[in-house]
């Protein structure tokens, strides 16, 4: 079986995000970019399936700017087999919306005919949590979202889902779309010998036009603002000082 894993290049989870002065979005120039953490989990899960002998080939797809090639290389160094880069934007600030991404992925799926698509449950930059569901709908496939456990058995998969207040286990027929939640696995580091090997792994370069998909935005960002800053605490030297301060603040 072939597995398709879409991977998105996003601002690194640990980078302090700065809103652009004009409020049009977040400043992405000169900041550390990494693979979306949930996509990393999806790649890891695909590799584990391959190591278990249930999968023959892992194909990565990234849709975005040209630099997303680095994100594909990272996945190849983890153990995926080849990549497809769909260059859909020139400006690093431009985000491709979930529906456009899902439409492109649907075309890739038609071409590649994977038995399973594993993808992150959401991208940490726009937090849309929509692409996987949209892809399943476009394909008319089963979907198993928020997976914390995945077992593939013949032509079906058993998936444990993280739902409000507990876990739900479902069985879906393949082909299906599974979206990865945080607890599915802990992704491995890319090994340096594999990075050397990954340089030779093929990456196909495409454009949205190749798939006949229009990626122009349908949403308009009206405003982006920083979350309110928490006021710094203060360390007091004694109980008396604390009481005085609380009185001054009119709390007691």
């Amino acid at each position: 079986m072939k597995v398709l894993v879409p991977v998105k290049r996003v601002i690194d989870y640990n980078v302090k995000v700065r809103v652009k002065a004009d409020g049009s979005g977040v400043d992405l120039a000169n900041v550390k970019m990494s693979m979306n953490p949930f996509d990393e989990i999806a790649v890891e899960e695909a590799i584990r399936l391959k190591e278990a002998g249930k999968v023959e080939e892992i194909v990565l797809v990234s849709i975005g700017v040209k630099q997303a090639q680095e994100t594909i290389r990272t996945g190849l160094a983890m153990g995926a087999d080849r990549g497809i880069l769909v260059v859909a934007a020139e400006d690093v600030q431009q985000d491709i919306e979930p529906l456009a991404v899902a439409k492109i992925l649907a075309k890739v799926v038609e071409e590649e005919q994977p038995g399973l698509v594993i993808m992150g449950k959401q991208a940490i930059d726009n937090d849309m949590n929509a692409t996987g569901q949209m892809l399943a709908a476009l394909m008319g496939w089963a979907q198993a979202t928020f997976a914390s456990k995945l077992d593939v058995d013949g032509d079906s998969a058993t998936v444990t889902r993280e739902v409000d207040g507990g876990l739900q286990t479902i069985r879906v027929n393949l082909p299906a779309v599974v979206t990865a939640d945080l607890r599915l696995n802990e992704p491995r580091y890319a090994s340096l010998p594999n990075i050397m090997k990954a340089k030779k792994k093929p990456i196909d370069e495409k454009t949205p036009a190749d798939y006949g998909v229009d990626v122009s935005p349908r949403l308009e960002v009206v405003k982006t603002t920083e979350p309110p800053v928490r006021k710094a605490g203060e360390i007091v030297g004694s109980v008396d000082e604390l009481v005085t301060k609380l009185k001054d603040a009119g709390v007691i």
Binding site: D12, Y13, N14, V15, N30, K32, S34, M35, P37, E40, T74, A77, E186, R188, Y189, A190, S191, L192, P193, I195, M196, G237, S238
Partner: protein, 474 residues
Amino acid sequence: MTTPPLNPADDAFAARLRAAGLPEDAFRPVEPRYLEERRGLLQGRAGLVVAPRVTEEVATVIRAANTARVGVVPYGGGTGLVGGQVCADGPAPLVLSLERMGAIRGVWPEENVLVAEAGAVLAEVQAAAEAVDRLFPLSLASEGTARIGGTLATNAGGVNVLRYGNARELCLGIEAVLPDGSVMHGLKRLRKDNTGYDLRGLLVGAEGTLGVITAAALRLFPRPAREGTALMVVASPRAALELLALAGARVGPGLNAFELISGQGMGFLAETGCTARVPFTDLPDWAVLIDLGLGPGDDPEAALADLFEAGAAAGLVSDGVIAHSEAQRAGLWAMREQIPEANKRVGAIGSHDISLPLSAIPDFLVVAGEAVARLGPYRVNAFGHLGDGNLHYNVFPPEGRTKSDFPGAREIVARTVHDIVAGFDGSFSAEHGVGRFKVDDLARYGDPARLAVMRAIKAALDPQGIMNPGAVLG
């Protein structure tokens, strides 16, 4: 020294401090935390604990102590590893804690200077620098507790010495209260100031024996725009050194850290249930953690991959992993940073903070390894700041036994290791200092002329011997 014995910091002395104007809130209860040594090797004593709020109050305390001949132990975060902040013998001293002098007095981003009081916690100083988009590069596993005064008094090192230097090199000027109670105003924010003896350099590393550091002007740096971390399996310590040279040639000053990790250390992490994940199924004998900090247009991950490729071609490296997110960088560093904790859980017979000329390290490891093996069935975890020639050479009981099964071994092991270090022209204390634990080592290995100068300096500045009695020179 033939100074008369000191007096205890008793109630009468407390009364003198009050009479001299030390406010009531400066008096602290004598809590156990001021008297503990983290490995339980010493039980400290104190007649009084005071925590002044301003430099003038420190001066009041020291002046009174000098007059009354009462010993003073300066106390920062209490994380020192050589017993410098814990006085176990003699008349109960006064512990002078800097915990209430934690202000950042000023930040000059355009000058790359920050002035902090001695009680500022290292992590807070790092955060204050980050707030103005600068880096204060001093970084130790104890940074959440250690205070600036303590790191300067011990001339602390840590993981970034290779690139930025140790605490002394990060300090432009200090303000200190000298043993007679006078205040030395030396908070110069100058990089060039050739106006006589280097008293800043003298008080830094003096471990509280020449005065109390109350504030310091510290150097800041631009933050590296792009950072990357890799862990590479090296064939041997010699291969690690060759890789270091290769890295220096390729990335030059961009090398933040080059840390040696032994297979034994990785084994300890798993054995003691530490959370850090070792990314190899078969533990290698040796690995190095390499951290790069480069400019905005650079790609540290590519630089590390290229370094690995060159190292592999030269037969120096065989395997390795690279962090491709900040979370993974933290994960690799956690491995390095949790090794001291793992060591603590296993329980070392002896830990040795040694430094050696870089090229002597491979031979030292062989010679010392053989000598330790002759002493008993011990396990050795040698790790640390290879780029600085600084190894933490720690000796442990075999699996299933504890250090209490080997009474008396600590001293014999230390003597053996330190003698070999001296034979290679190394140092028995690279970054932790002398404190009280290494007084005998200093007497044994120190150059006689140098020791004589140190004693003369001590006698000139502190004729009564009140400052941190028993530390460094004994």
